[in-house]
Symmetry: C2
Subunit: 410 residues, 2 copies
Amino acid sequence: MKEFLNLVPQDDALKILLSELDSSPVAEVISTKLAFGRITANPILAPHPLPEFRRSTVDGYAVRAIDTYGAGESLPAYLNDIGEVHMGKSTDLVLAPTECALIHTGGMLPKGADAVVMVENTQSSKSGEIEILRAVAVGENLINIGEDVKPGEVVIPSGRRIRAAEIGGMMALGFTEVAVTQKPRVGILSSGDEVIPPENQPLPGQVRDINSYTLAAVVEQIGGEAVHYGILPDKYATVLDTAKRAHSECDVVVITAGSSVSVRDLTATVIDELGQPGVLVHGVNIRPGKPTILGVCDGKPVIGLPGNPVSALVNVEMFVSPVVRKLLGEKSDQPKPTVYAKLLVNLASESGRVEWVPVQIFSSEDGWEADPVFGKSNLIFTLARADGLVRINPDATGLSAGEIVEVVLF
Amino acid sequence: MKEFLNLVPQDDALKILLSELDSSPVAEVISTKLAFGRITANPILAPHPLPEFRRSTVDGYAVRAIDTYGAGESLPAYLNDIGEVHMGKSTDLVLAPTECALIHTGGMLPKGADAVVMVENTQSSKSGEIEILRAVAVGENLINIGEDVKPGEVVIPSGRRIRAAEIGGMMALGFTEVAVTQKPRVGILSSGDEVIPPENQPLPGQVRDINSYTLAAVVEQIGGEAVHYGILPDKYATVLDTAKRAHSECDVVVITAGSSVSVRDLTATVIDELGQPGVLVHGVNIRPGKPTILGVCDGKPVIGLPGNPVSALVNVEMFVSPVVRKLLGEKSDQPKPTVYAKLLVNLASESGRVEWVPVQIFSSEDGWEADPVFGKSNLIFTLARADGLVRINPDATGLSAGEIVEVVLF
């Protein structure tokens, strides 16, 4: 049990791990269309202003604002209609005093115009003449050159996860390709004499591999590339050989192993063999996930996760996801998606450690309600039934029914 | 302006649209490994119990609980050690009274055993004899057959979006393939005489296409397949022809068009031409997005979105995403990911309509803070700078600085 003498608090454990990692992601250029969810490798600067010309934001008449001052329903301003601005074209029209021109939403303002009167505030009783029924100020109902973006402005910082809006912004500026960071390769090893591939029929005493697939799903969702190294027997030489290969071929290595003490010791010994400094944290003060091992070997993170599928899945979120984000170069102050819900029952907890309790969420008239999914942490369907996790802090001895709790969604 | 005489409230508009749609998704069988984010087409039933054998949850000794009753540090129970249960194998060991067997976490309990004593609560002073220092109850430190899942139980309902935990659950039961619903094909048309492809250099009066790409990104993220029909001039015959082709080839058609009245009328006329009943909602009481048009044509949803990129992106979330979810057969009570944040400034709103205000989120010592990104709704970088949207309800005239608001994350 020696390894559990020094359980490290969850938040400290992550800090220790991340502080040992350099993030110097390599960039690759891809089509902007395919960049959703990727991380920008460089800041993106606007090569030109947006918009590039003064655009009307309404249907109406381009005017010189001064010509409309004092105009109202009872005393219209009368302006000469000199023509129409066609969409998508530069216009040759130039407004002289007391002139106006028909313009559509998104149309380019003619020279001389400095405002637009909405069509609702105009009427035409005589050919070639428009009555203006409401005064407008300079700049009203138009967007100026550079009002969205100025040339040279950083429009998207580096380290930003690309969403639909970023794709749109890049397209607006003509960037049909973008430099993003390469996906970190995460090697996944599953060790256990009792573990068999899911397509096989288990004999008594055997269980199917779950962790390789749940971990790969989380890794790929966060933006990494999962590389499978298969199921290994709990033999030191085999695990070490495969771990060395994964360590040389990948940017991160994750070993899920059985939960018995001897197997955990095997994982720790393997991590210490892979490079310096080796194991940094052996045992985390978290439930589930106490046997988690965090190491860095010659600059690459190597993480040992408990074999039981619930612990593995919770801890891949807690430790592997932040590592992948850091290697991706993601710089983000974005919160984790959460909801607030009323806890339906009391939850006891052992003071001194972080506890993560799977909950189902239901909508009620008063908002969301959270109902814990009780079950031993070995039961994968405990998580399949849950919508998210409630955190019980180390300084709490539990949570009370009726309390509003924050649920971190999967 | 006739089309805006009857603005429909946002929630009603969505209900009207969804109530006209039948959801009868077609299933396809794919590899479970690749099923992340897809929707189950059928309920998944457990073909066998999980676990399939009684498993120890600790390292220790399998015992008959009755043999440990009364045991303590000062008065151990002495049991005969009859051997070790090896991992991944059926065991031939059978415990007779006063016998025990070494077992590891995840190991199969031998016949006769009904509990496990943790190794920490045992000691061995004489070969072949184990001292039990703590009594255990029947069932302690083990998982019974079927404790996770019983045979025939629905472990994953139909219409469920597959997460890592569902992938793990399916693998545990040997389902390496799964029937999921086919991705709805969403045809995207961008109309506008002023719109050019992003790779082109805009001439004065022209703007690059943004909406085709932002809408495609949202559609694909939610689980649909985006099909591009290109940029069309604002000509009735061209838009109608292309819309007809999209309508015949896709499950949903989305037309983003300029915001001038004549172009909106063109879109509405096209939708009415595509099939029955045609336009259902012409104008929604929402900002941004008032000119949104919702229709169903011969059973397929056809949606007209405002051409301005912020309106288009907000309204694809509000109307196209729910449509895609329904066509996917997703049945989910899952909340949208949100965070609660303190609003930093007052926000005024026009009572009577739903208003969505883009905000940036910052972490502070007191939690998250939300700072509105002000900007006209034509400015794409308004959204690229935002982390989410704050909803102002129709019955409110605004929100006050210091209020805690719910931010729907992008």
